[in-house]
Symmetry: D2
Subunit: 295 residues, 4 copies
Amino acid sequence: MTTLSPANSADHRYVLTLGCPDTTGIVAKISSFLADIGGWIVEAAYHSDPDTGWFFTRQAVRADSVSVTVEQLRERFAAEVVAGLGSDTEWRVSDSAVPKKTVLLVSKEGHCLGDLLGRSYRGELPAEINAVIGNHRDLEDFSTRMGVPFHHIPFGTDKAGAFEELRELVDSHNPDAVVLARFMQIVPEDLCEHWAGKAINIHHSFLPSFIGARPYHQAFKRGVKLIGATCHYVTGELDAGPIIEQDVIRVDHSDTVADMVRQGRDIEKLVLARGLRWHLEDRVLVHGQKTVVFS
Amino acid sequence: MTTLSPANSADHRYVLTLGCPDTTGIVAKISSFLADIGGWIVEAAYHSDPDTGWFFTRQAVRADSVSVTVEQLRERFAAEVVAGLGSDTEWRVSDSAVPKKTVLLVSKEGHCLGDLLGRSYRGELPAEINAVIGNHRDLEDFSTRMGVPFHHIPFGTDKAGAFEELRELVDSHNPDAVVLARFMQIVPEDLCEHWAGKAINIHHSFLPSFIGARPYHQAFKRGVKLIGATCHYVTGELDAGPIIEQDVIRVDHSDTVADMVRQGRDIEKLVLARGLRWHLEDRVLVHGQKTVVFS
Amino acid sequence: MTTLSPANSADHRYVLTLGCPDTTGIVAKISSFLADIGGWIVEAAYHSDPDTGWFFTRQAVRADSVSVTVEQLRERFAAEVVAGLGSDTEWRVSDSAVPKKTVLLVSKEGHCLGDLLGRSYRGELPAEINAVIGNHRDLEDFSTRMGVPFHHIPFGTDKAGAFEELRELVDSHNPDAVVLARFMQIVPEDLCEHWAGKAINIHHSFLPSFIGARPYHQAFKRGVKLIGATCHYVTGELDAGPIIEQDVIRVDHSDTVADMVRQGRDIEKLVLARGLRWHLEDRVLVHGQKTVVFS
Amino acid sequence: MTTLSPANSADHRYVLTLGCPDTTGIVAKISSFLADIGGWIVEAAYHSDPDTGWFFTRQAVRADSVSVTVEQLRERFAAEVVAGLGSDTEWRVSDSAVPKKTVLLVSKEGHCLGDLLGRSYRGELPAEINAVIGNHRDLEDFSTRMGVPFHHIPFGTDKAGAFEELRELVDSHNPDAVVLARFMQIVPEDLCEHWAGKAINIHHSFLPSFIGARPYHQAFKRGVKLIGATCHYVTGELDAGPIIEQDVIRVDHSDTVADMVRQGRDIEKLVLARGLRWHLEDRVLVHGQKTVVFS
């Protein structure tokens, strides 16, 4: 299992993300701080939300441009910038050289799993995929061929017990992302809360249309001219979590449900891969029911 | 007001559309009939719907290739083809040299009106626009500048009376299409039935998401990453009629509701213009709650 | 002719754009300056180009948040920020309350003209359209109906003389944008230089494919599956200036050249309208043969 | 290695494709023939090209609806339909139950290979992938993991010898498709002719833009706002063969060449997978330098 690692020091970055109540002077504060430590900013994005009065930013600096360690950067950022902002400020400093850990939850459909393991195998995902967990054994052979441990947890009559086992197994990897890659079980509310901001689902419709089961059948019945897929954070309310990414493809009257299922797979794979990548690169900031995505 | 007319006889066409219960041999019947009368087929499209067991076709033949008038074509087609098909067969033969008539219903938002009148002025629409009817006077000046009669029907306290006046005025033009070009009134069920298959609406969302009022506000609140527009036939159930065309554009966290309204206009205009064109060219066959569009 | 004006003071903005050799601390300098004058930043975008070593930014501040006039802002920004940057720094401060002036050059095809005059009529373009100049009279009637003065300059045998007349007429309006809205004449090199950074063309292909005449015929002959349009700054080299915006639509084997021409119009209109809007809102920064577009 | 096989007799089809000089009555002839043998047509597509005067059709009938074998169908179709058409008529009858054979040619980049082997593994491709042949060993491990034989043919100093070896190895599989899945060698003209209509390439640009080497570098330098991929038949002229499919994705000033390479991979995979599928399902008819794609 290969993972992306900085080919050289120029690719090694520290990434700061921050969300706080908006006020004048925040950008000046942050940029002055970064200038002080000699930070060479390679990406900087800002967003002021007039609707919520909230300010968001993401800054990526070359690690070799600053004279401090990532721990020192965190401490100084907390003391010199965050301390002067609102008490409900949310922030984070991450180090691109520390690989993110990911666990995939699957059922029988293998296209999203195949896509993610392929990307990971080729070093295209900024993550290690530590485990695949399935409620069926259908995808064990593929996972094993790709060198990723597969765990089978049957979801039969004792669903609560199965979810307890799932929680322990997932948590044992301390993952940065828990990906529901066409995992066909509805996650209980307390587990949603436990994995809040980490659990990512791919739903095979353009949400909020066609929530729940068999969305392609619903789309076929309604006669829509585009079908889509949605990557979103998992919350207690089914298919209603903050949306990270969506996309659509064109269908027409000649497409059967089977055609939609087949064509939809490609858009599901792409939307999930993009959403997961942005999550792993700290490009997604959640606020309430919505996301800011600095792609 | 210019309308598209065949530049020469090569562009003059007879268009046959037909929907009936599927069975083997229908294509042979139709194509043999057309071959018999010497018909030079310039467009032919077929669709068999395995779900409903229904068959649909649209055929366009060069008018100058057949030895019969359009009336004779209708009679012979009825006798030689349709008579041998199921009794609930729906069909139609139209003549591209007879311009279609269109009436536009508007309110205050002028972008769809402006787009359609512009296309009509430049001879890009296969239709005459006979009248613009508004429940406000905001778009009177523009319509008049473009040479199309504007009628004002206020929808104040006596809505029923206003709809009665609207019905009479529209029907006086005997239109092939009644276009709700951002007409902000909900058409009563009996009028929907009266104009069934003729009344076309543009809704500013990707249906079935965000039905009803202020869809861009709903989209903003939900945090979707694409916004869309839907052109559909008007039926008694709000925003639930058969969909003719849909399209979307990408938005992100930096787009306010006002940005969505602005960018959405462009997609509304395009989707309506495409849907209306297909309707006018007999490319849309309705069956139940869905359409077959031979675009 | 209506133009967009700030509905209220909250929409009145000062916009700073700047491009200079990249170095650490620029963002800090600019944001500290803006914080000093109390500037409420409503939009901020940055780009560091590793390829050219150039830095670009665009900042929009609420005019009512700063205690200075736009002239004072320019002076102080020059003295307090620009003076400390490289001598080849390019910058500009503009005031959203001062309407931009635009002149349109046309020939016989009216779809781009119709689209822009319609947007302007409805107050959707951040510009005044001061004049339409055509080498044919075909679009005079439409321009006049829309209340915009039309000027006819015949481009017969004395092309040099016609371009001289065109230059004088255009320059008399001192425009911020000179839009070649399907103007079918090749502008001489000296005039391209004279209007550098202001003259915007719409080319009906996905450049760099199908440069020059009859691009839809070229596209048809090559059998491409998508056709496009490109909005770019005009330079001395034909269809080779910095690209502002491009888009495409799908075609297939059933589309004739006439179909491509018809469908292409819609994408030409959209691409030109987007490109022009971004230019007028100071969202486009040119560097060498490329653009940075802070859309 | 799984391959798609008809799940039941309803999915077993005979597919007829035909191209010939256009004349009236062809559709009648074909459909009467199919009606005579009791053929239940599940898909029927026609195209008359006014430019070349050529007629194209593809018909899919349920195998269980006809009383003849596929060989008898071929004989009777030849005698009863084709014999009455022009002598340069090109036609073919294929049986969906006979799996198509495919050979993949690769170099070092594994994303297209990974995508195709993944689809094949999951039974999503209507083909057997019989062999992967690489001019480097980089993709041997992956192919082997997926259970597909990998052959290494070094293309060092003796290119002619290597191509001779390649030809023999490929031909030993008698493939229906030879896919250049980011194979970085230019195939000699005689081999292009030998594999005419079977060899399919994926080029990582929106052709005809950026022919030849390093198209993403060319796209970056030109500053285009969309990048694309093109799937086409291989002919003697580099990157100039008949185009099967193309698609694009949006990029902007912030995308480096490396970003384009990364994002471009996704569009390359999709475009190749779609093009190959259509080829394998006999949906692509080539005429001169162009294709008719009955997708």
